[in-house]
């Protein structure tokens, strides 16, 4: 679940709501996708709330590797 992209999760959630609204599912099926939907919703919500602001500047070090620094450090 952690791997799933926000957009995919949202799309899946939309599909689940649609399927549920159609209402031609067995109770077992409905319960199953409802649980799935709740998990997706939770994952999306975590994705929204769990994100942290981070601005970094990419540069190459002397060895040719990549370095990420805060904008202040590299503001020369």
């Amino acid at each position: 679940m952690a791997e799933i992209k926000f957009e995919e999760a949202l799309k899946k959630l939309e599909k689940i709501v649609e399927d549920l609204e159609k209402g031609d599912l067995t109770l077992d099926e409905a319960l199953k996708i409802y649980q799935e939907g709740i998990e997706l919703s939770r994952a999306c919500s975590q994705r929204l709330e769990g994100a942290k602001k981070k601005i970094e500047v990419l540069s190459k070090n002397k060895k040719g590797g990549f370095e990420l620094k805060g904008p202040e450090e590299s503001d020369s």
Partner: protein, 429 residues
């Protein structure tokens, strides 16, 4: 008449002409149509400039070709700046060109048109090559000047829409010397960077651009090397160059063209509020939909339960009545009742036996008496009493029934009703 003849060598006269021409014209602008364009192996360009009635040889040396942004081709009307020069080995005069401008439109513009045409033919602008922009990218790359207006605008939008986004800035020169190399390198680097980090840290989309400026300022974004770097990027690219009206090659190649850096940021970062609302709506929808479904099932269950109750009541009645009838049957089948019946029957039979046995005994007695009577009638003694006798052989004791059982002289015993006679056979007949 003798005249002083001044005799030049070929070199001398050529040298004089050269000086003359150089003094007369120096540096000139010449307008004409390009024909017979032929670049040399060494990188110099040779061609002719012509108009309706004349032709002028022309050359551009390699050090000057680099400054010419557009592609020279036959038929192109140009204005050239240079010097008239004599090429002594061939006795030819020619225009040594330093600058060329296309006639009518500016050189840059022409170069752009030509490059655009070339890239278009190669398919770099085709819609099918455009990659989709992720909806909520985990990390956004930004390639622009660190001091420019673009990065400030982008960060401002971020703050407004989704403060918590992750941004990786790759600072580049966006104009002047080295800009095109910087930008194209940076695009490649972000792609390389992605290969060096975990999947969740990867840059999912990049904004390449700068704030507004003159067309020359924006030129790096019209460079082929930049356009190709954008085209080859595996990370989707949003171009954001200058203002709305400026359309560069980068814009044409990019997966999405944003009119300005701010607009690019808005494209790539959804409003957190919108996302939250959307998610809440969906989650609410999910719960409602499920509540409806379970309510539906509940109703169905209630209906079934009701019917079940009705059915059970009916079944119960049926069972009750069949129970009652069974009980009646059972009562009739009660063994006590049957025992009584059997007992009565047994007694009845016993009585019958008693009566019948009496009869039988009587019958048997009668038959016995009759038989006894008959038996006494058959007794030999009884027959003897009526005058019959029985004769036995004296020696064997056998009853004599025929005369030939005996021989003359045999002794016989004759039993009479009372007493016995012993006799001797005298004759046999």
């Amino acid at each position: 008449m003798k005249q002083q003849r001044q005799i030049y060598t070929v070199s001398e006269i050529t040298q004089d002409i050269k000086l003359l021409l150089e003094n007369a014209f120096g540096e000139v602008w010449v307008e004409g149509e390009v024909s017979n364009f032929r670049p040399s192996q060494a990188g110099h360009w040779y061609f002719s400039l012509k108009d309706d009635s004349a032709l002028l040889s022309a050359a551009v040396f390699i050090r000057n070709t680099r400054d010419i942004r557009f592609k020279l081709e036959d038929g192109l009307k140009v204005v050239c700046f240079g010097k008239i020069d004599i090429y002594a080995p061939r006795g030819q005069y020619q225009l040594i060109i330093e600058k060329i401008e296309p006639k009518g439109i500016g050189g840059l513009q022409l170069a752009l048109e030509q490059l655009k045409e070339k890239l278009e033919k190669e398919g770099l602008f085709k819609q099918e090559h455009k990659r989709p922009i992720p909806y909520l990218p985990g990390c956004i790359g930004v390639i622009t000047s660190q001091q420019g207006a673009a990065i400030k605008d982008i960060l401002k939008v971020l703050d407004r829409r989704f403060k918590e986004a992750r941004i990786v800035i790759r600072p580049v020169r966006v104009q002047g010397e080295g800009a095109k190399e910087d930008i194209s390198e940076a695009i490649k680097e972000l792609n390389l960077f992605n290969e060096s980090v975990d999947r969740d840290k990867r840059i999912e989309v990049m904004i390449v651009g700068r704030g507004g400026g003159s067309i020359e300022d924006l030129w790096a974004f019209n460079e082929e090397v930049v356009a190709r770097a954008i085209y080859n990027s595996r990370i989707p690219v949003i171009s954001a160059v200058g203002h709305e009206r400026d359309v560069t090659l980068s814009d044409l190649v990019a997966d999405v063209r944003a009119p300005t850096p701010s607009a690019a940021a808005e494209l790539v970062i959804p409003r957190k509020e919108d996302l939250k609302n959307n998610l809440e709506d969906l989650t609410g929808g999910l719960q409602n939909a499920f509540a409806n479904i379970s309510a539906g099932f509940q109703q169905e269950i209630n209906g079934l339960l009701h019917r079940l109750h009705l059915n059970i009541a009916h079944d119960f009645e049926l069972a009750e009545s069949s129970f009652q009838s069974a009980r009646r049957k059972l009562f009739l089948l009660n063994p006590a009742v049957r025992i009584q019946q059997y007992l009565e029957r047994a007694l009845d039979l016993a009585r019958q036996i008693f009566v019948r046995a009496g009869h039988i005994i009587e019958l048997k007695q009668n038959r016995f008496h009759k038989a006894a009577g008959m038996l006494s009638g058959l007794s030999p003694l009884n027959i003897l009493s009526r005058g019959y006798s029985i004769t036995f052989a004296q020696d064997s004791g056998r009853i004599i029934k025929e005369g030939r059982q005996l021989a003359i002289g045999d002794s016989i015993k004759t039993r009479l009703y009372k007493g016995e006679l012993i006799s001797e056979v005298r004759g046999i007949k």
